[in-house]
Amino acid sequence: MPEVIEVIFEKYQRKPDQLIPILQNVQREFGYITPESVKHISRYLRISENQIFGVSSFYAQFRFTAPGRHSVKACLGTACHVRGGATLLEMLERELGISCGETTPDRRFDLERVACLGCCALSPVVQIDADIYSRMTVNKLSELLKQYE
């Protein structure tokens, strides 16, 4: 881990404005912001760990727990909302047995809500990993989940 972090640091200058890009890179690498990485970043950028937590907790993108194998994101943007996005989210919460922001105990799925994936014309949409599924229904989504192990 320290080596990986060092490789990441090589790409960024030792300036406080590099904090967010570094955090993004760390999350890409490890899937989340590990406590250990915060220590390293603190040393590298010479800012306190508190400051790093302050910034990273402000932004919805950063997570502090290990992610599951697949990430499910239900869109609750306006277009998706008026076309039933909330019903889809409720169904996901029920079927996966977790709330937004949680991971299933078997680590198969992560569940999140997002505000618009930019595919509003095809709403409601759900994103699983990198794929966006459009014009979703409760039953289609239930079938879809079975394809992910």
Binding site: Q24, Y59, V82, R83, L117, G118, C119, C120, Y133
Partner: protein
């Protein structure tokens, strides 16, 4: 500049080769929306078809042309024929289309919707004559869906970077003069005259100045900026260079939300190409103008679309707004003079600099010059991305372009969470900055959400407030605490537990938040509630007094029922129900146990979807609770 001119000559030749193609070309709309509809699968399938049948043909990925409801879109251009567009293509129709076009050389009329010639072709109408396209004026979107955004040569063939070349031959002051005369106002929401803030920045002394492209596109339910970047990437970057030259900035930054990975990737590709073409770095096109562009990914915070919060975020801090003045044009990023412009504002600039201010003045109306793009979504027949002249009426947009609403029209929300919800009486309102403001809404960045009688306006107002409340950065109290109170009241009302006094409280809270908040987020957050209170008061009262949600949306005020006469007893819903609320033997009307029903909609969907079912499950208002 001569080097670029040579590139342009060869780019135009290359484009002519595409226009007068010797081998068939298959164009597939593969922006994010097209991909969500299955475009990538179609590309793979087309490539397979070409290989299996041993034909020589080209596949080109293009951006989004606008009518997203027709997606996925596939166009085919046979040698000597106009390009023909096919809509809602799935793998099966694709194979029929390819067979007919590539093997037999004739269009597959059944699935064709338009051709890109000027007249009918085999009975297929010109694409731009389609009802959704005809009333539009495409300036910013002129290349979208037509060219491959990842090929700079195609952009050059469309007179790309001509605007920049013109600008570089003028003084920066003259460029500002052209923009002033063109009368363009910021497309990011507030409509502030672009030349004004540029002038301030130009006149502020400073070694280093910054030009930031605001691609945060926070309005949930709007995708104009995403689409433009994905479909005509270079236009936005050219606009940034023109703006940078005018204000005297040597550094450009694109601040883009992380939810748009394809747009980010295309920006990276485009910047690489600019470097190869001498459009990046020092002495651009042999002039004294230096400019480079970096990309900063947002990290998921709506408030970071606000300029001072955006700056804080780039500086590596929590994205909290600060009070203005000083305006960023005087003291912005790292304390340097900074201009922040929206993607669409920037994307328009090349057109203005290429064709002149006078030409731009032909569009729109006095005080509201030019065109504006909108994403047309919600309960409307033809959803998608459109561009119209400012001053077009809502009616023209909804009914002529959007094809109207399937069920009776109820409302239109403009301006996203900062905007308002307008009722039918405003349909003839002209879409310009002032008219929308006078109705209590705003232009915003261009999200238009259409609602029909199945949309509950109280629920929508709650939705928006819930959104802004969650996105409030917490710095100022009116916004942080006030919006929370409003959400709580709205929740009570939608649960059927509201009291008549709530309406007055909502108004007072709303007015106070608007007056007392620090930034645009709080200052506009109450708008959706205030406008619905004004134009749809009755619906609030029905929720409060009668426990009635006439749109059948608010979960606590509705119930699911089986219409016995219609039920075919097919048992599909029994299988679908997750809680075992529905029971009944095969071929006999089923029973729905309300105490077990969690209103998840599964049964409702299968009852409509399965051929053997009889549309027997209905969702009804539950009426006043005892």
């Amino acid at each position: 500049m001569n080097k670029l001119k040579k590139k342009i000559t060869s780019a135009k030749k290359k484009w002519e080769g595409i226009e007068n193609n010797k081998e068939p070309i298959v164009y597939i709309g593969a922006a994010s929306c097209g991909r969500a509809a299955g475009a990538l699968e179609l590309i793979a399938e087309t490539e397979k078809f070409i290989k299996e049948n041993n034909i020589s043909a080209k596949v080109i990925q293009v951006g989004c042309i606008g009518p997203c409801y027709l997606e996925p879109l596939v166009d085919i251009k046979m040698p000597g024929q106009p390009r023909v567009s096919y809509s809602n293509v799935n793998v099966r129709t694709l194979n029929n289309i390819l067979k007919s076009q590539l093997l037999e050389g004739v269009p597959f009329i059944k699935a064709a919707i338009g051709n890109f010639g000027n007249s009918d072709f085999n009975g297929i109408p010109p694409f731009y004559e389609l009802p959704m396209l005809k009333p539009q004026v495409r300036i910013v979107l002129r290349n979208c869906g037509l060219i491959d955004p990842e090929d700079i040569d195609q952009y050059l063939a469309m007179e790309g970077y001509q605007g920049l070349m013109n600008a570089l031959q003028m003084s920066p002051e003259d460029v500002i003069g052209v923009v002033r005369q063109a009368g363009i106002r910021g497309r990011g929401g507030a409509g502030f005259p672009t030349f004004k803030k540029w002038t301030v920045c130009r006149n502020t002394p400073g070694e280093q100045k910054y030009l930031i492209c605001n691609a945060d596109e926070g309005d949930p339910g709007a995708f104009m900026n995403r689409s433009l970047i994905e479909s005509d990437t270079h236009a936005v970057l050219e606009g940034m260079m023109i703006a940078g030259y005018a204000i005297g900035a040597s550094k450009g930054i694109v601040y883009i939300r992380a939810e748009y990975p394809l747009a980010i990737e295309r920006l990276r590709t485009a910047i690489k190409q600019m470097k190869e073409y001498g459009l990046f770095g020092k002495n651009i096109l042999g002039s004294t103008f230096n400019f480079d562009i970096t990309i900063k990914e947002g990290a998921g915070a709506f408030v970071c679309g606000e300029e001072t919060a955006l700056i804080a975020s780039i500086e590596g801090k929590r994205g909290m707004p600060r009070s203005r003045p000083p305006f960023p044009a005087i003291s912005g990023l790292f304390g340097c003079p900074t201009i922040i412009n929206n993607v669409e504002t920037l994307g328009t600039l090349p057109n203005i600099l290429r064709n002149g201010a006078e030409w731009y003045n032909k569009f729109g109306k006095e005080g509201n010059r030019g065109t504006k793009t909108f994403s047309l979504v919600g309960k409307i027949r033809r959803t998608g991305l459109i561009e119209v002249q400012l001053g077009t009426t809502l009616r023209e947009i909804i009914f002529d372009i959007g094809g109207g609403v399937q069920k009776p029209f109820k409302a239109i929300q403009t301006g996203g969470p900062s905007g308002g919800c307008l009722s039918e009486e405003f349909l003839d309102l002209a879409v310009d900055y002032e008219s929308l403001a006078s109705a209590g809404s705003i232009m915003g960045s261009g999200g238009l959400i259409i609602m029909d009688e199945d949309t509950c306006v109280v629920d929508v107002a709650k939705y928006f407030l819930d959104f802004t409340q969650k996105e409030s950065c917490g710095k100022c109290i009116p916004c942080r605490v006030g919006t929370r109170h409003m959400v709580e009241i709205l929740e009570r009302i939608t649960h059927g537990e509201g009291v008549p006094e709530d309406l007055l409280t909502l108004r007072t809270l709303g007015d106070t938040i608007k007056k007392g908040s620090l930034c645009g987020l709080g200052q506009t957050a109450p708008n959706p509630v205030l406008t619905t209170l004004r134009y749809f008061r009755n619906e609030y009262l029905e929720h409060i007094k009668d426990g009635l949600c006439r749109a059948v949306v608010c979960k606590d005020l509705i119930e699911y029922r089986v219409i016995k006469e219609k039920c075919t007893g097919c048992q599909s819903c029994v299988k679908a129900c997750p809680t075992g609320a529905i029971s009944g033997p095969r071929s006999e009307p089923h029973n729905l146990d309300k105490t077990k029903c969690i209103k998840c909609r599964s049964c409702y969907e299968v009852c409509r979807f399965e051929a053997i079912a009889g549309d027997a499950i209905v969702i009804r208002t539950a009426g006043k609770r005892s």
